[in-house]
């Protein structure tokens, strides 16, 4: 690594991804995405279904690989040094599940070992996380016996075990009841307080507006707008309107002059 002072937390350059190449269902999910996060904070990723949000977040987390382009996480490339970049990422999505026949403690220990932590470190982290998420009552019960809210807490604890710097959340508040959703939101705020980066995708514009300083808007595999919320409103001369209204006008304007032909 070169000695440049403090590389940016996240730097995405020219990432493309096409699914099911050569088949009828061939689909260009990302068509050249570049974006830099200079400083930490909460970043909201919004866009209609099929915009490529999940694909982008999965690539950042090294769950899948890009066809071209690269992502640097604190200067570590997901291509050339995936082990280092993965160690800095905590990822959680709506579809993330738990091993039903393990207890929360066993889950945390397993992932701690997968991330290569020392045994003492793991037990220390488990105690900390157990306290932080109030899991004492059920830490040794089987995951399959836990309530939905308890499971969500275990899931969050799981993505914290290796003390990552950047948190990537893919629609994690979707379909949650008010109480659980609140736990999650509290957690996101907590992360921002302890100076971590959070990127989360959501369909809930109110939540995005309430929570995020920065918004990234994706559409059809491209980032079409990004910046601070108030700045974006000013740029599109809609200072008084909500994020939702701005989003609809932005997407609507693009779809009206670029109809079906882009879907190919």
């Amino acid at each position: 690594m070169n000695e440049n002072p403090a590389p940016p937390p996240l730097s995405i350059t020219g990432v493309t991804k096409t699914y099911a190449e050569g088949s009828v269902s061939e689909f260009a999910a990302l068509r050249g995405v570049s974006y830099d996060i200079g400083s930490c904070g909460i970043y909201g990723l919004i866009g209609p279904n099929g915009a490529g949000k999940t694909t982008l977040l999965r690539i950042i987390s090294s769950v899948i690989k890009p066809d071209s382009g690269d992502v640097l996480i604190f200067g570590e490339s997901i291509r050339s040094n995936p082990a280092a970049s993965k160690a800095k990422i905590g990822f959680l999505s709506a579809t993330t599940g738990l091993y039903s026949r393990l207890s929360p403690r066993e889950t945390l220990v397993y992932f701690g070992r997968l991330f290569g932590l020392e045994n003492e470190k793991i037990s220390k982290r488990v105690t900390e996380l157990c306290e932080l998420f109030e899991m004492g009552d059920f830490i040794d019960k089987k995951n399959e016996t836990l309530s939905f809210g308890q499971r969500q807490r275990v899931n969050i604890a799981r993505c914290l075990i290796h003390e990552p710097e950047i948190f990537v959340f893919d629609e994690i508040t979707e379909g949650l009841d008010v109480m659980t959703s609140r736990t999650v939101i509290k957690f996101i705020k907590y992360l921002a307080e302890i100076k971590k980066c959070v990127i989360f995708s959501t369909h809930d514009m109110n939540l995005a507006e309430r929570l995020c300083e920065n918004i990234i808007i994706m559409h059809k595999g491209l980032i079409i707008e990004a910046g601070r919320v108030d700045e974006l409103k000013r740029r599109h001369s809609m200072p008084a309107s909500s994020l939702e209204e701005m989003f609809i006008s932005l997407i609507g304007a693009r779809d009206s002059y670029a109809p079906e032909e882009e879907r190919q």
Partner: protein
């Protein structure tokens, strides 16, 4: 994909999976409880049923009617029955055959003994008389009575003979010149072996398959269903580490399952039946159930099952990872289960054992080897071949599974995704997709050919069998494949008319090719020659006795293969190969596949060479007709030569000049052949390219 493994991480995954799998009740039940319970249960139930049925026949009253009241005879009968412990009821009654029949059906009677008039006086007075026993073979009770009556009647006759001998003072040796003593040399345990030896390999493989089934799904498809696959990929370890950790866990459980089954079977065989023997009053049963398995056979079977368990685990995981959930996985796995469960049934066939050719068929060879080990009847060389073949296959399946595991497309298969198997829904196939489909198809076709083909050729007459094989198993699948993938059949296989020069070249190439392969075959036979049996069969199949028969043989063994096999190899396979590889490599691969397809170690090299030059012939001429003609000529010459040999064996000798000429031509062909190949290669890759 980097191939450096992180053994630390593999062991983390392995121990997690092992613990996790063992917490599953289904897995535990299938793997531990079921084998422990099932063997003792099956043996007790079957022994009980056997005892029950043989006892019930014995216990019920045997009712016999005798036509005349011959006191000495009936007394003899009664004492005989008494000695055998049979409960009887003997009455004197004259019955017609119809009456006997209906009485047996009504269970009023077991058998009827008709004694000729004046039986008593005649037999004691030195005259011949007659006893007729009427029984119903389809009735168990009557059948049982028949056996006992026959032995009683024979005993009575012997008694009479003995008393006559005594009365007339004849030396007994005059009447009985020799004694007959039958000794059953089959020890009870050997009898048990042959029964066990047939059934045990099948059971072991079946349970090993079941042992791998649930764990393979749990570590793959269930990971997707639970939503934990994603979290696993987040950790800093490669797809290969994940795959090997999981594989080791499934493999260990499969081996464990095999171990438990073997232990349960051998314990049941040695101790379980011992208990039954004590219960069983009948000594006949005790003889039948005295099985034993030697500990060395158990250990050997365990060792030889290692590659099999490896193949099962890897293959099942590879298939199950395609599935998105448990239900899908079960559907996908059904054919795999059949692959592992049907071939072992060959061990049920009496007399079918491991030989030099079936030792090359994976799984089947293991089944037969186990059978051989249990009866102590196998050759070490065949065992080694079988072991190596399975070992090689296990390496191949592991690599294939690893490749599948590194595919994102497989790991994150969206719900609306079209599987590559539904290839007709694709707009156009990429070359690697086409290649994968072709590989899959070729393997399926080989399996089909091996089983259905050999079935057709044994079930029908050999000519009909060949006809079915060529048309239904070689041509038709290839036709369907080409139609589905490429659309235009004739255009794809390269069915283009050729000029006279090309035609002449095809003839020339075929003759040189024949010369070359003949020399190669002769050379090869110096090192290893096929068994005489095989040669005789081949010879018999293609030898004609009449011109008409010769014509039909020529059609079936020369014309038909030239068309059907060329469509498959030079049409379907080569068309895809040349898109990916150079002309030389394509021809080489196609040749090797052609050699493999002939299912014979001895024919591999010559047929591979033929396949190679036929492929070059197609690439260099751009048409499938020249290889078809050359293929026909090659086979025709062999058929003609074989028939010629038959005439030779009948003492009809052709002129010496002709033999010399033929030998000279073969040698000439051998020398010219490399040049022919070279010229074809030049035409295929030259600056002008193929025409």
């Amino acid at each position: 994909m980097k191939m450096n493994f992180n053994f630390n991480k593999i062991s983390v995954i392995f121990s997690h999976e092992l613990k996790y799998l063992l917490r599953d009740k289904t897995t535990l039940f299938m793997m531990v409880l079921l084998p422990i319970i099932i063997y003792p249960l099956i043996s007790f139930v079957s022994a009980y049923m056997f005892m029950k049925s043989s006892d019930s026949v014995k216990r019920s009253v045997t009712k016999v009617a005798v036509s005349r009241d011959e006191k000495p005879f009936i007394d003899a009968l009664k004492s005989d029955f008494g000695r055998a412990g049979i409960r009887y009821d003997i009455r004197v009654e004259r019955l017609s055959t119809e009456e006997v029949q209906s009485a047996i059906v009504k269970k009023d009677l077991s058998a009827y003994i008709e004694i000729a008039d004046g039986f008593g006086e005649k037999t004691t007075g030195g005259k011949s008389s007659e006893i007729i026993i009427k029984y119903d073979l389809s009735n168990d009770k009557s059948n049982f009575a028949r056996a006992e009556i026959f032995s009683a009647v024979r005993n009575y006759r012997e008694e009479l003979v003995d008393s006559n001998i005594e009365k007339l003072n004849i030396p007994p040796a005059l009447i009985y010149p020799f004694d007959i003593t039958g000794v059953n040399i089959a020890s009870p345990s050997r009898m048990g072996d042959s029964f066990l030896a047939r059934i045990l390999p099948m059971i072991i493989i079946m349970f090993a398959t079941l042992g791998a089934f649930y764990p393979a799904i749990d570590v793959t498809a269930m990971e997707k269903e639970r939503g934990t696959l994603e979290t696993l990929l987040l950790a800093p370890l490669g797809a290969l580490d994940i795959m090997f950790g999981k594989f080791l866990a499934v493999f260990c459980l499969t081996m464990f399952s095999i171990l438990i089954n073997l232990a349960s079977i051998s314990l049941t065989a040695t101790h379980g039946f011992f208990v039954i023997q004590k219960i069983a009053s009948a000594s006949r049963l005790a003889n039948m159930v005295n099985f034993s398995i030697s500990p060395s056979a158990v250990i050997a079977i365990f060792v030889f099952m290692v590659p099999a368990a490896c193949i099962m685990s890897a293959l099942m995981m590879q298939i199950a990872i395609f599935a998105r959930n448990f239900k899908e996985a079960q559907n996908y796995m059904t054919p795999v289960l059949l692959i592992f469960m049907l071939p072992p049934m060959v061990s049920l066939l009496p007399g079918y054992s491991l030989n030099a050719s079936n030792a090359f068929i994976p799984i089947v060879n293991l089944t037969l080897l186990m059978k051989g080990m249990l009866t102590g009847n196998y050759q070490l060389s065949h065992a080694l071949i079988a072991f190596c073949v399975n070992l090689a296959l296990s390496v191949i399946t592991l690599i294939a599974a690893a490749k599948t595991f590194s595919s994102e497309h497989v790991l994150f298969r969206p719900s609306e995704d079209m599987d590559v198997l539904f290839f007709w829904k694709y707009k156009s196939l990429k070359i690697n997709q086409e290649m994968n489909l072709l590989k899959l198809f070729f393997i399926l076709q080989l399996v089909l050919l091996y089983y259905a083909g050999s079935f057709a050729q044994t079930f029908f007459e050999i000519k009909t069998g060949l006809l079915i094989t060529e048309i239904l198993l070689i041509f038709l699948p290839s036709f369907i494949f080409v139609k589905l993938i490429h659309g235009d059949f004739l255009k794809t296989i390269g069915f283009r008319t050729i000029g006279f020069g090309t035609l002449a070249f095809a003839f020339f190439a075929a003759l040189c090719g024949f010369g070359f392969t003949t020399v190669v075959t002769i050379f090869q036979s110096l090192f290893s020659s096929p068994p005489d049996e095989l040669l005789k069969q081949l010879q018999k199949a293609i030898t004609a006795r009449t011109p008409g028969a010769f014509f039909s043989i020529a059609v079936i063994t020369a014309l038909l293969p030239a068309f059907c096999e060329e469509v498959m190899f030079r049409g379907m396979i080569l068309t895809t190969l040349v898109k990916r590889y150079s002309a030389f490599s394509s021809a080489l691969i196609c040749g090797v596949l052609f050699g493999v397809f002939h299912f014979s170690v001895y024919r591999f090299l010559p047929t591979a060479i033929i396949g190679f030059y036929l492929s070059l012939l197609k690439i260099s001429t751009g048409s499938i007709i020249p290889p078809m003609i050359a293929h026909f000529l090659n086979n025709f010459i062999i058929v003609a030569a074989a028939n010629g040999e038959w005439y030779l064996s009948k003492g009809i000798r052709p002129p010496m000049q002709l033999i010399l000429l033929a030998e000279g031509l073969i040698l000439l062909g051998f020398i010219i052949f490399p040049m022919v190949v070279n010229s074809m290669l030049k035409r295929s890759c030259g600056p002008e390219g193929p025409r």
